[in-house]
């Protein structure tokens, strides 16, 4: 599928505008460049042992929405003619003037990591999300320098469905139980707040590693036998052995990011991760310790890594689901994200809630 990848680096005006493919196409600053995906392996940097060199700092922001626009049906790729006719972006497979695309099952762009915006309700708190907020324009900036990839794909999620499959009945109940608990206890104290607010992990960190909404930068460091992955949000690292074999952890040991093991299949690094906790969510679904994620890293040219993934948790989804995103190299280091350093928000949120409760009690 990588031959379908169209464009690489662009500077877009909207920091978090999802599904901006069509918009990006029309922007003067777009610098679309064909990605060399032919077997021209000469374009692939390699390490001394002959494997593709994955090293670099990449952005995994993409203009491709997580779920396929509903009006695209099973259409997995736009054609150049589709784009010329004005399809893409928020319009999906409709041409200008036609009805809006509609949602294909949730998720927004690369920023789909567990923070859907349906009905303007914050999924983690059950409260209306405050839509009015600071943005880069407060600093007098009309645009930004976020590097993002775009492609002819209609959705990150691959296959005819183009969306995450339904939850199992068991997972639906688990989700409802968690929501019911949170409605009562979410403001009890710091330990009851979402993992992101607690600076433990960000919802889209994965694996699969998807755009975090901002600071979506990933550094890959490679040596003989290992690949290290550093995600700027929220400061976490994964050390992946690349010599194959199953995890060395017993089944009873669970970790926030699981336990990864990798091996090379030709020029592709294949990583299987197991041993997740049952305390996290993935795309807002309450996953279990049966979660398994397969990731495939391909250095498709000097500036891009194709990141493919398959997610399977039979306790959570009715079937496995897969996706792919092109990561684009950026000319920037990974910056420290010392989340606890200035996390005034935790205390401020709790004091805000206490004030709200006090006010409510006084009004009774």
């Amino acid at each position: 599928m990588s031959h379908r990848v169209l464009a690489s680096t662009l500077a877009s005006a909207a920091l978090l505008t999802a599904s901006a493919f069509g918009q990006a196409q029309g922007q003067a600053q777009t610098k679309a460049a064909a990605v060399k995906t032919t077997p021209a392996a000469a374009a692939i940097p390699r390490t001394a042992d002959g494997h593709p060199d994955l090293s670099g700092v990449f952005s995994n922001v993409t203009t491709v929405p997580m779920a396929r626009p509903a009006n695209c049906g099973t259409k997995e790729f736009y054609t150049p003619e589709d784009i010329a006719a004005g399809m893409g972006g928020a319009r999906g497979c409709a041409t200008p003037g036609a009805a809006p695309a509609g949602r294909g099952g949730g998720g927004r762009g690369g920023a789909a990591g567990g923070r859907g915006a349906a009905a303007n309700i914050d999924p983690e708190t059950g409260q209306p999300a405050l839509q009015v907020h600071y943005d880069t324009s407060q600093f007098g900036l009309s645009g930004n320098t976020i590097v993002r990839s775009s492609s002819m794909r209609t959705s990150i999620i691959t296959g005819p469905d183009g969306k995450i499959p339904p939850l199992t009945p068991e997972a639906q109940k688990r989700q409802q139980d968690r929501a019911a608990y949170n409605r009562v206890h979410q403001w009890d104290g710091p330990e009851s707040r979402p993992l992101g607010e607690r600076c433990i992990m960000w919802p889209a960190e994965g694996p699969p590693m998807l755009s975090e909404g901002y600071n979506s930068d990933i550094q890959l460091v490679q040596s003989a036998g290992y690949v290290g992955v550093v995600q700027e949000m929220i400061h976490d690292s994964r050390l992946i052995p690349t010599n194959g074999g199953p995890t060395l952890l017993p089944a009873s040991v669970h970790q926030w990011f699981g336990s990864p093991r990798g091996h090379w299949e030709g020029d592709k690094l294949v990583v299987e991760t197991t041993n997740f906790t049952d305390k996290t969510t993935l795309q807002q679904a309450p996953t279990t310790d049966k979660l398994k994620v397969i990731e495939k890293f391909s250095r498709i040219d000097a500036n891009n890594v194709l990141y493919e993934f398959t997610v399977d948790d039979p306790n959570t989804w009715t079937k496995p689901w897969s996706g792919e995103v092109t990561w684009t190299k950026i000319d920037s280091p990974i910056y420290e994200y010392a989340c606890h350093e200035g996390n005034y928000g935790m205390a401020n949120n709790l004091s805000g809630q206490r004030a709200t409760e006090k006010k409510a009690a006084e009004q009774k």
Partner: protein, 131 residues
């Protein structure tokens, strides 16, 4: 509030069209969209800390006294990539900040629009400069 320069803004229409930056935490619980604020003050410190930067300003009251405020802003990492440095907002800069006050009533808020006294938006390149 009445002792500060803070002015309740009747409308939140000033922010229509702004692309919201996703945040690290739940804003609805921390800030009160029913209490918009407009402050005129002088920067005393810009804390470039994650997950959010904080601008400290002194707001001069009608009686001459000064009230310190803290205003939450974007992630330093994103701002650095946009070309900001720790010197981009020096102490002494006079600003007008529009935003929303903390729900607990503290002199703390979230900034939604920041403007220089000459009407320019913060950090717009001065005329005649190349960058």
């Amino acid at each position: 509030m009445k002792k500060t320069f803070a002015v309740l803004v009747a409308s939140i229409g000033i922010l229509v069209g702004a692309a919201p930056m996703w945040a690290h935490h739940a804003f609805a619980s921390e800030f009160d969209e029913k209490h918009p604020i407009k402050l005129r003050g002088v920067v005393t410190q810009w804390e470039l800390v994650n997950p959010h930067s904080w601008i400290h300003i002194d707001v001069k009251n009608a009686d001459g006294s000064v009230t310190p405020w803290m205003i939450e802003g974007g992630s330093p990492n994103a701002l650095f990539r946009l070309g900001f440095t720790k010197n981009s907002l020096p102490a002494g800069t006079e600003l007008i900040i529009e935003g929303y006050q903390a729900k607990d009533g503290a002199n703390r808020g979230v900034g939604a629009k920041l403007t220089y006294m000459d009407g320019k938006s913060l950090f717009l390149k001065p005329a005649g400069e190349d960058k």
